[in-house]
């Protein structure tokens, strides 16, 4: 059986219609409480109301610290988790409430590449059978056809097709991620959700895999949701970037706009942590060091999630949840910020003083004094 050619995915339906549309997506996990204390059931608010569009053929980078809910969001998109609330539309069709059985045909559309190159491949199965698993599950092709397709996939991701009889243990981390990519591509999906696909790899190998993913995107017209906490990686591969903090999107913008005129204090702090290759530039740059830890997602702060650590938080930040919208007139239409007091490009966060009661002094200007 032949499947749709990949180029077709880009051309059909209106190009303005996003491939994936998330509206108010929430995922709460119940906290295991001890049986003795019978209190109210508590929840980890891993993803707490995310609105995002992913357009056809683009790469949306999803960045944020560990624990901000980006991996959970990825698993919600791939429908590995059921949503607590909200909708996910794929190609205009709501997939958020489909059962596993109803979801099965749609698995062909969205696939996932996982973070751990060691954990994501079954150590007891041969590579050929791992990559061919999607064909077996969806009952595609005869045995001989499958083998041929598996070998083509291996070639596509830069593996030696003759190695199909080997086991995952025979491969390096980078090669294993290629195996994972081949498996994800087997069903010719429109969209790939990449959950930190390179964070477990050596830097030299990271570049290879990222270039492979970029080439595959050009070749197959794929749409990526690319999750990482590595800002330089995401800058390289993304068209747009969404910054997450404590289960919410703080700011979303085209890559260069985000790096040049970020509006959200959190984005600014995150970007200031990006190492610069030019030492002079690095010295002159403002480095914002946030004080304190990320609050627990079991009891997220009221109002703006970031107000407890924000250097310029005002009293109303603790009360009003800022909507994700265009912050300033000169921002492009794609640049949305969830902040009541968006920043100007030349504004220095380290000079700001928070006036909200429960926030501490949270910034330090290392540009003047240097980091101790």
């Amino acid at each position: 059986m032949t499947r749709t050619t990949t180029a077709e995915g880009q051309g059909n339906t209106g190009s303005d219609e996003p491939l994936l549309r998330l509206r108010g997506v929430k995922k709460h996990f119940p906290v295991q409480s001890s049986a003795l204390i019978r209190g109210e059931q508590e929840y980890v608010h891993a993803v707490d109301g995310v609105d995002l569009d992913v357009r056809r053929g683009e790469t949306l980078g999803l960045v944020g610290e560990t624990g901000c809910g980006k991996s959970t969001l990825a698993r919600c998109i791939a429908r590995l988790y059921d949503l607590t609330e909200g909708t996910i539309e794929l190609d205009g069709r709501d997939i958020s409430t489909l059962s596993r059985r109803e979801m099965r045909p749609l698995r062909r559309e969205i696939q996932m590449i996982f973070q751990d190159p060691y954990g994501s491949l079954n150590p007891r199965r041969r590579v050929g059978s791992i990559i061919g698993e999607p064909f077996a599950i969806h009952d595609i092709g005869s045995r001989r056809e499958r083998k041929k397709q598996v070998q083509e996939l291996m070639e596509l991701v830069g593996l030696n097709p003759e190695h199909y009889n080997r086991f995952p243990a025979d491969f390096s981390g980078g090669q294993r991620q290629r195996i994972g990519a081949a498996r994800a591509l087997a069903l010719k999906p429109k969209m790939l959700v990449c959950d930190e696909p390179v964070s477990a790899l050596d830097v030299s190998i990271q570049a290879q895999l990222i270039n492979l993913l970029a080439d595959l995107q050009d070749e197959l017209g794929l749409t990526y949701v690319f999750i990482t906490h590595d800002l330089s990686v995401v800058r390289h591969i993304s068209d747009r970037i969404a910054v997450m903090y404590l289960g919410k999107v703080m700011e979303v913008a085209p890559v260069e706009e985000l790096f040049e005129t970020s509006r959200h204090p959190y984005t600014r702090a995150l970007l200031s942590a990006l190492p610069l290759p030019d030492p002079d530039l690095a010295d002159r740059r403002e480095q914002i060091i946030l004080v304190g830890d990320m609050p627990t997602p079991v009891h997220p702060p009221s109002g703006c999630r970031f107000h407890t650590r924000c250097p310029k938080a005002q009293p109303d930040c603790a009360e009003v949840v800022p909507p994700l919208e265009k912050a300033k007139d000169d921002d492009s239409a794609d640049h949305l910020t969830a902040c009541l007091y968006p920043m100007d490009p030349d504004e220095r966060l380290s000079r700001a003083r928070a006036t909200v009661a429960d926030s501490e002094i949270v910034a330090d200007d290392s540009a003047l004094g240097g980091v101790s």
Binding site: M112, N122, S129, G132, E133, V150, Y164, A169
Partner: protein
């Protein structure tokens, strides 16, 4: 659609070919096992015992004695009716009824091995399926099955076996069923524990994101990963089952007489061991050697599947 080990085989076969073959974890374990001298010697002994059991009628033909035939000649029984020691006619002596101990011991091996294999297979089959189900599905199913495991493990096995056999009467199938029913719980517990950790691995998530069904994930993705533990446990379970079977026979709950089996023979020999030590010594030794061989082989298998062993037996 049925999913079972045949699918696993098919999945492997699908890519079979001589091109560049990785050594499977099984092949590696087997290679390690082959270098383990004690395990190989034990395996040789096990093979000899199996062959002897299969050729039991040959022993009968050579000696001219049936396993249940009673001889009342002077060679078989003393004038006082006591068993006779080993002689040219009765190589391992006779028992209290004038039967050939050698032929009976050889026939007894058949029973021990048959029960050992069948009861172990039953035990492992129940244990694996229930352990896999409990560990993978979790929730209420897991709670219920775990409680069931606790209950089964706390039942006084011998007492219940005595009660059951006294109702149904002794037979091969009841022996196998009783042993299987009371042994699966420990297998299930081991498998469940493994599955609990395996189901959190990313490859299970990956299978899910590909649209795999629960059953397929259980049997195609998870089962092969617990199989090595199951195999190790199985080889170590066989000698236990053989001893349990002998114990049941010893207590008169084995096979109905005059069927020859080791536990029964030892039981019959109890009152004669001072005057006729051969009567108890030969079936006793057969039992000890068989269980020892299986145990040592099982240890070897356990070592072979333990990846750390590679460093211990490096070339």
């Amino acid at each position: 659609m049925s999913i079972g080990t045949s699918d696993v085989a098919a999945a492997h076969e699908e890519v079979a070919g001589p091109v560049i073959e990785g050594r499977s974890p099984w092949a590696l374990a087997f290679a390690r096992l082959r270098r383990d001298k004690v395990a190989m010697l034990s395996l040789a002994i096990i093979i000899v015992i199996v062959v002897v059991a299969l050729l039991a009628p040959l022993f009968s033909a050579i000696t001219g004695h049936g396993p249940n035939e009673q001889y009342h000649t002077a060679n078989a029984l003393s004038p006082g009716g006591l068993p006779r020691g080993p002689s040219g006619e009765f190589w391992w002596g006779t028992d209290d009824l004038g039967r050939d101990v050698l032929v009976r011991t050889v026939y007894g091996a058949r029973i021990s091995l048959l029960v050992g294999v069948l009861a172990t297979a039953l035990t492992v089959a129940i244990g694996v399926v229930l352990g896999l189900t409990a560990g993978f599905l979790g929730g209420l199913v897991d709670t219920l099955l775990t409680r069931l495991i606790d209950v089964v493990l706390s039942v006084p096995f011998i007492l219940v076996a005595v009660a059951l056999v006294s109702i149904t009467g002794p037979s091969l199938s009841i022996t196998v069923l009783v042993i299987g029913f009371f042994s699966w719980a420990s297998v299930a517990r081991i498998v469940r524990g493994q599955v609990l950790s395996l189901r959190e691995r990313e490859f299970v998530e990956a299978a899910r994101s590909l649209g795999s069904s629960d059953r397929r994930i259980m049997f195609v993705d998870i089962l092969p990963n617990v199989l090595s533990q199951v195999i190790v446990y199985t080889t170590l379970l066989i000698p236990v089952v053989i001893v349990v079977q002998a114990t049941l026979s010893f207590l008169g709950l084995g096979l109905p007489p005059p069927t020859a089996d080791w536990g029964g023979m030892i039981s019959e020999a109890q009152s004669y061991y001072t005057v006729a030590p051969w009567f108890i010594a030969f079936p006793g030794a057969a039992l000890v050697i068989t269980t020892l061989a299986f145990n040592l082989f099982g240890d070897g298998v356990a070592d072979a599947f333990d990846p750390r062993t590679d460093r211990l037996i490096s070339q």
